[in-house]
């Protein structure tokens, strides 16, 4: 270790105090400010600074907006300054600053002199770090969204190419053939075949349009749309859906209906994909101004922290996003081997009608 004389050490410490980009406050045990370095002065409001310089003790609390614990982003519950027993080597605190409004800081708070009860409170501005993190998250989400969008387009394009265009071409060939037919019986047979092809084509296009957005959702409401969707699921995936609803064909705002429908659809698809079960029950109800939906399966469940994703992996966050957009909340209750329940709750204010 490098040996240092006391004076050298003091010199270093003073320079650090004066020039550090970290704001340093010295406090007593009640949170009164004893001293503050130039960076700290830049944070603090001018008036407060003046009153400090005039010798009036001032509390940190006057511009502290709370710290972040596991419950809240900004809270004064169990304030670290009042209760210095726990480990406060690192935490996040929000301060009201002079120029930049409320700013998050990474803070540490610990005693430097037990006898005189002097504490040091050091702060590092987290704004840039937060911004980077937020951008990172946004970029990641954006990438996933674009990928999911592209996949959906691919699916529709393939559907158009594989079924619609093919059937049309086969119709065209049949039609050309008919031109050269002399025997009325043959023409009859040919037109019958073309009729069949056309019927199939109509069916395909209708399916495609329903998958994109079911008209029944707009025209008849949630229950009808869900019923026909579940029928389709049973036919195509062999999954039984026990659907019960107490909505009695009540209608809601379009964005709410869309959110409920899409979230329900996604939850069912997840059950098909992952639950390894034959049965899912869906309950739709309105209770005390909230529209609620339960999607429950008795399948294999999953580990929420580490789901084994098949696909874009955007489904769960997409469900949350949709719920949030209409002011609702979603919770997923699952455990490996215990099945899965998706619970959705959205506040509804229905107009008097």
């Amino acid at each position: 270790m490098i040996q240092m004389s006391n004076s050298q050490m003091i010199d270093f410490l003073v320079k650090m105090y004066e020039n550090s980009t970290e704001a340093i406050f010295f406090l007593d045990q009640e949170g009164k400010i004893l001293a503050l370095n130039p960076t700290a002065r830049e944070i603090v409001d001018d008036r407060l600074l003046e009153s400090l310089q005039q010798g009036n003790p001032s509390m940190l609390c006057t511009f502290c907006r709370g710290y972040t614990n596991d419950q809240n982003e900004m809270t004064c519950f169990d304030c670290h300054i009042q209760n210095a027993e726990d480990d406060f080597s690192s935490f996040q605190v929000y301060l009201e600053t002079k120029n930049k409004g409320t700013v998050p800081y990474a803070a540490s708070y610990h005693p430097i002199d037990e006898e005189k009860s002097t504490y040091v409170f050091m702060l590092r501005d987290l704004t840039t770090q937060f911004k980077t993190q937020e951008d990172l998250y946004k970029n990641k989400l954006m990438k996933q969204t674009i990928e999911a969008q592209e996949n959906e387009r691919k699916r529709i394009s393939r559907e158009l190419h594989d079924s619609v265009v093919q059937e049309l071409i086969s119709m065209l060939v049949d039609l050309r053939l008919t031109k050269y037919m002399d025997d009325p019986a043959e023409v009859q047979k040919q037109t019958q075949q073309m009729e069949g092809t056309l019927n199939r084509l109509v069916e395909d296009v209708r399916n495609l349009s329903v998958v994109l957005r079911p008209a029944s959702l707009d025209d008849l409401g949630l229950e009808a749309a869900f019923r026909s969707h579940f029928k389709w699921v049973e036919k195509n995936y062999g999954l039984d859906v026990n659907f019960s609803s107490t909505l009695n064909n009540r209608r809601y705002r379009q964005d709410i209906e869309t959110a409920v429908y899409r979230i329900g659809q996604e939850a069912i698809l997840n059950a098909i994909k992952y639950a390894e079960t034959f049965q899912v029950s869906v309950l739709l109800t309105e209770l005390e101004g909230y529209i609620e939906m339960y999607v429950r399966d008795e399948g294999i469940g999953f580990n929420k922290e580490k789901p084994d994703v098949k696909g874009s992996g955007i489904g769960l966050s997409g469900m949350e996003e949709r719920a949030e957009l209409v002011g609702g909340t979603i919770s997923i209750d699952t455990e490996v081997g215990k099945g899965t329940t998706v619970y959705l709750s959205i506040p509804v204010k229905r107009s008097q009608s």
Partner: protein
Amino acid sequence: MLVTSFDFQTAVEQLKTDLEVDIVLLALAEQEDSFCLKWKCAAGNSNDRYRRVMLKSGKGVVGNVFKTGKPVVIPDVDDHPIRNELYNYPMIQFEKIKSFIALPLWQSYRVKAVLLIGSRTASQLQDIDYDAVIKRIGYDFGPLQVQELMT
């Protein structure tokens, strides 16, 4: 609809015994001109789900075999691109089939049925290669022909 008095169920069960596989399923075309199939017979199945599932021409493994008339051999489902899309193939998922052969069955130059021969152990069907299976089945399956038109 395929009109026949042939007992497909017995034939399917016999085939399962002969080939010593876990499961044999048979899907028949619904109507003369419809492009839908339904599972009609099963041997070695663990549940009756197969009766509920409707198959469409060009959709899923069986739908594609039906549409193209080309057999499909997947020795290990978990080691194949379809592993993440298994939910689109309900029978494979419900019966936990890990390797399978899907064969088109013909009548008057049209695919009328699809035979799915599956094993719940991966790669078990790799050893029984495709030609051997064909040989064991023979050239006829009741009124239908095991005929390769496009290979």
